[in-house]
Symmetry: D2
């Protein structure tokens, strides 16, 4: 069976790195481009990380790495140091051996949506700046992409950045709002689901025992576990970004609802909140017509963990794909 | 034991009417004023309803009824017909035999806070317009009131008016924000708790069986149950307003957290959202200093039902206090 | 001829002090109350200043001084040190010999609007917090006041606080918006007119030459001229607050237009902007219906200086009313 | 002397059509691309109009016409029928003989900024959607463009769409804000200047007298004059879009100030307002630091008409460039 074409848009980021390794490990995807966006690290650092990861995970030369927008559409300040000084903990990876791509990430997204019209999956694990820029560059992109799965938002649970907002959407709320109002077929994989599939110290022990090729991964996971312990006093870490990749292949890792997402872009208190209007209830809300008009666009929204065990599948898949 | 002085500020409203009857039935309170605010009905109608209820429940002449503000502080349109054409279903009550009070509700609140400094409880079961106007009229009111318990808001659950907002706060968000930032000691009793204590058709059967004096109450409950069935397809109704009265005497009807409430006043999407910043987590949020500065004021926020059974207590108490 | 009843609501403030002296000097008004509001100084300081000014200008005991709201309706921070450390430059006035009034300023406004229904003029020279609180306390006040003249706003000229906003409105924009949407007959005297009527060093020389009783006034004016020189490099100062008092008696000091004022309350960039919709043009604007609906309330808006020379009249009037 | 490379980004639009003719008539520019954006007409209509104008003015085949974004960045509704049913009055032009360009307008802008780095002028006479999308696609564009001159905004005069906002900025305020905060060297040519240079019936008589080749132009002007008469009761029309082209070659058609422009994107009342912070006054404003931080980017802002007579130059230039 031919592998399905996919683009991974990412702001690596520790769990973004795991998401790449996992994606490659599934053996399901033909990764057409790995595009960097600012978020967990500024875009230039994210781009360097992405190039280093392409090399570390053995796709250097096969998968072009594109630099994305170096500013957000929302013109907000969204620095985060959760992922450590380099965005990959303290890891500084050897650079890719390939020359820099000239083509900016949004242009690559548009081009690939033409080349693989109706077939291309896009998984975005950072702020949606690049995807939104692609939709502004060529709105037809919305109708040529098979499905966009993005990690971001919080539909019915609190945020992780403010009580209302999840980091990726908070970091560029206008970008997220452009995406969910574009008509692109999307699945939002937010904290409602990602907080439920976790990686534990027992899982880490399996990586450690796996021998050569998992040392880098283990370092990423250790830094990530440490950040969750320090910031949230949690002894395991959620599989935010990998889950979005998982859902792109199999939605049974989550339960979903269908409805409209509206992103709060104007209020400082609510910035980045993903307001979820379930399809069957939207008409009952006391909203003015111009807000209710948004319900003409709907998407699928992950509302919890699903029947298939993602945590188990994730660790098994990593083990299948050691780094070089 | 001397009864404790209390003011009930209300927008009757079907469950507001039940809240009055329940308050009188507890035998715990000396009701110093019954003040009307616009909400479930426009203020003039709410005032007429309040006068009629004072007569129907046998306190005409003993409890002065004051008319409140006829406009909201937020200058928003907030009409609702959930409570039927008169706000008390279709009920038109005989008017009080007393002349109209000249003193507006906010002035009465301020005066009573002076007369019963350190002792006065205020229970508000409608939009917080009158309470906020009292705080603007004389900010010292915040420090003279023993405790304000208000029915309103939704801390960790969806709203009933929009996905984010509960009706009372949505109807005058600026009023609510003035109150929670005033320094008044408050307990917010919102949907997190009120949706958990319900009145059922079995409870109604007890009223019907109770004989003379519960017919009016039974009509109110029937209209209210009908509205919940029609609008939400629920066969029981939440005891929103009565619960606030109950909590004023005994907080064990609910579980509470301590933290700061910030009300969304600026955004159309978020209008009326009560953002809850738990005391022990607030510093971790990615909010600018001027928002974090609000955490100098905290209150108690009902987060769920408590150990003591309010539904049972409510029905028993009603039975002790028939209408005339 | 009987003098016309008036209330002066003020945040003294250097030019507020001049406004009081000017008002008394005109011999046209029966000053029923002098009410203090926070603005140029915090409310407690403004109240102390007002009491001192009542004594200094010889109305102690005749004119009750009322303390106003100690918080704004907008819950914004609006400190200013333009008027010096005491709000009256460095002046510390001997206190009034009268006991403190218990009645808060908004209550006094409501009461006087009843006592002098259809006759009472209100001049407000500070933020509109007290006037708005009175309108919330008893909205009928709007229809009992003959006219409100307020110093504030900027209709067709830049602000003095931000490029868009004048200080009094910027300091409590929600209060201003409550007032202009209340139905009260109002004249807004903003920077469009006040920047045109100025006080010069030549005028100051006339005060200095006038002998006993103008020393205090001369000190106020010197401090005010100095602040304009230091902050705006202007060698004369505008007669902001006195002009509002002047216009209350004779609108020919200004030219006016009729239209609707809408105040920006939500945006940080625009906070306090007084958007002027001229009566004859409002329907042509690309505004949604809920904004256009505000045009049912109109007021008179000063758009420039008028034919009668206010600067000359002001200095002459001061000379007629020395301080004690 | 080699002609200077330029891109004209336009939403034709009657005065946009005149701007193209004028640009070609100056003989100063090598028009590298003519890009269409939605505004005076929806983007598809604007694109068709642009193709027709390219043919009518004799550059079909020489100047590629690119289709722009079919949605705004601000996700606002901004329909206008000021320019008649086709956007060119009632004119339906024969289509270009060239095939449609595949390359979207923002991509063409980015490409040309690379090909003519440091040399390329961009003139935008519609909403800034395409320019902003180019800056998101490749932010380096800001540093490769020699200068952007855009028609839009109102710095110190009222708007034409609301009292605060000019149409082009109102139609996509986020796009405008992205542009002015991007670091691109820009000159804003707004209503402060464009309302001063007008086209009169006398000028029209000169076109009519000019004989063959000005009939189309005369029809455009007649429709435009008629719209100004009908909507604003003005007997002449401002040369909005042509002036921006003029200023790109010679700034002496206007007077300018240097400062920062901040665009109101959040408030319904202020939407599209271009707040001008003059370079030498910005620090004095009572704005929070995150707003004052914007002053690191400045541009030139036309504040009035300049010494050189644009109206005369415009008509003379048109006469030099008849349509086919």
């Amino acid at each position: 069976m031919a592998l399905a074409p996919i683009v991974l848009d990412s702001d690596p980021g520790l769990d973004d790195a795991l998401a790449l390794q996992y994606l490659l490990g599934t053996g399901l995807w033909d990764l057409k481009a790995y595009t960097a966006v600012g978020g967990n690290a500024p875009v230039e650092q994210a781009f360097r990380n992405a190039r280093g990861l392409a090399r570390a995970f053995g796709v250097d030369g096969d998968v072009p790495v594109h630099r994305g927008a170096d500013r957000t559409i929302s013109r907000v300040d969204s620095a985060s140091d959760f992922h450590g000084p380099t965005g990959l903990g303290e890891e500084v990876l050897p650079d890719s051996k390939e020359p820099d791509q000239d083509e900016p990430a949004p242009a690559a997204l548009v081009r690939l949506s033409r080349e693989y019209e109706g077939e291309l999956t896009v998984v975005a694990t950072g702020p949606l700046t690049n995807v939104a820029a692609a939709l502004l560059l060529d709105p037809g992109t919305a109708h040529r992409v098979r499905r966009l799965v993005f990690m971001g938002g919080a539909a019915q649970v609190p945020g992780n950045c403010t009580p209302l907002a999840e980091f990726n959407v908070w970091a560029d709320p206008d970008a997220a709002d452009i995406v969910v109002s574009s008509g692109i077929p999307y699945t939002m994989v937010g904290l409602d689901a990602t907080h439920g599939w976790r990686f534990t110290h027992e899982d880490l022990a399996r990586l450690d025992a796996a021998g050569p090729g998992q040392e880098l991964t283990a370092r990423f996971v250790r830094a990530y576990l440490k950040a969750y312990d320090a910031n949230h006093r949690q002894s395991s870490c959620p599989l935010h970004d990998p889950l979005a990749v998982g859902v792109a292949a199999d939605e049974s890792f989550v339960t979903t609802g269908t409805g409209t997402v509206a992103v709060e872009c104007a209020s400082e208190l609510g910035r980045g909140q993903t307001v979820y209007l379930p399809e069957d209830k939207a008409v009952r809300f006391n909203y003015p017509p111009h807000i209710l008009a948004r319900t003409r666009h709907t998407g699928r929204v992950a509302l919890g963990t699903g029947p298939r065990d993602f945590s188990a599948h994730f660790t098994e898949t990593l083990l299948r794909r050691p780094s070089l």
